[in-house]
Subunit: 209 residues, 2 copies
Amino acid sequence: MRSYGQYCAAARALDLIGDRWTLLIVRELLLRGPSRYTDLREGLPGIATNLLADRLRELEDLGLVAREDAPPPIAATLLRLTPRGEELRPVITALGQWGIPLMADPPRGDEFRAYWLALPVALYLSDSAPEKPPVAIEVRTGAEPVVIETADGAVRTRAGAADDPDAVLTGAPELIAAVLTGSLALKEAVAKGLKLEGDRAALRRLLPA
Amino acid sequence: MRSYGQYCAAARALDLIGDRWTLLIVRELLLRGPSRYTDLREGLPGIATNLLADRLRELEDLGLVAREDAPPPIAATLLRLTPRGEELRPVITALGQWGIPLMADPPRGDEFRAYWLALPVALYLSDSAPEKPPVAIEVRTGAEPVVIETADGAVRTRAGAADDPDAVLTGAPELIAAVLTGSLALKEAVAKGLKLEGDRAALRRLLPA
DNA sequence: CCGGATCCGGGTTGATACTG
DNA sequence: CAGTATCAACCCGGATCCGG
């Protein structure tokens, strides 16, 4: 954690969270909430385990991450963001928004985790008919499914399958991403191989205009 | 520029601009506009000249920075952000906002350039009386003065001295920063050594409530 | 003076193996 | 599960030098 030695807010921020991997660790904690060490490592493919341990210790020292013991049935310690750590959300959001155009070219062997879609979902989706009954859409594109659902006007994602989804979306990550960010029309995505089962209107209700 | 190899917008953004110094180079170009190589280096104390050259070449290859020949009288090439590069402003802004609390502790030998104040100014100052005649406030805290002035409702900064400033603010960078961000009352700052000459109301008109 | 290129020492990162 | 240990490769920072 070498300092830039500049009395500038952005430079001082980068002093703390500008190291390689640090912001991606914050992304994981923002998207997944309190996590075990091993789960973090699973969500950060490519990181060396010693680096993850180092970074977590630094983040703890800085007061951005806290360690806590999980409730009794589970024997594990959880890592969670402190309130000050949560305040990094706008940074991740700004980075993600700037990076959206980069998602147009396909993964080329990049790793992918379905819950990462929570980032574009939060940025681009909104419930255009909050007065109607809530909807749930299951997305199958990574190893594990993700559910996009509405809850009193807001749109959220969570890991896992839906009990009784209004629609199920299956296909390549770049097709899903393009549809969710509005850069590709649903019809064209289907023509390119995206599979949409169930109630198409439920999905349209959430998509950007 | 090693890739994280993750199909995630934030990770891909960091693939491009996550290297050390890269975002600070963007900060310089955002705050100063088109600049010569040597001026960039002056605004990035601590950077090794080869690193600056490397980063600029990368940014050029990525289409975030463009090189242009300065108009005839001057014999120099200028570096400027492309539109896509300008789109990084929200990233710098988010970082700067998160970093503001870190400015509370004094510089401790950190380098400082007065025009860096443009960042907090844009975030925190606004003209509460745009119908009145414009005001100009000169700030003397670094090697070179900076002017904060209003122009049709907006608050801007520019390098240099003011012809006929409504007020002049002189003092340590951390006092100036604390006042501009509203974390320290003007009266208390003056008690701590800040010097305010001229029309106090002109400054109050711009400060956060 | 401007705009770099080159070289070198040391620190950081990354891959793998290993451990309580 | 949650790391530590080790080591090679790479990147960074500082100094120096060089062509317009």
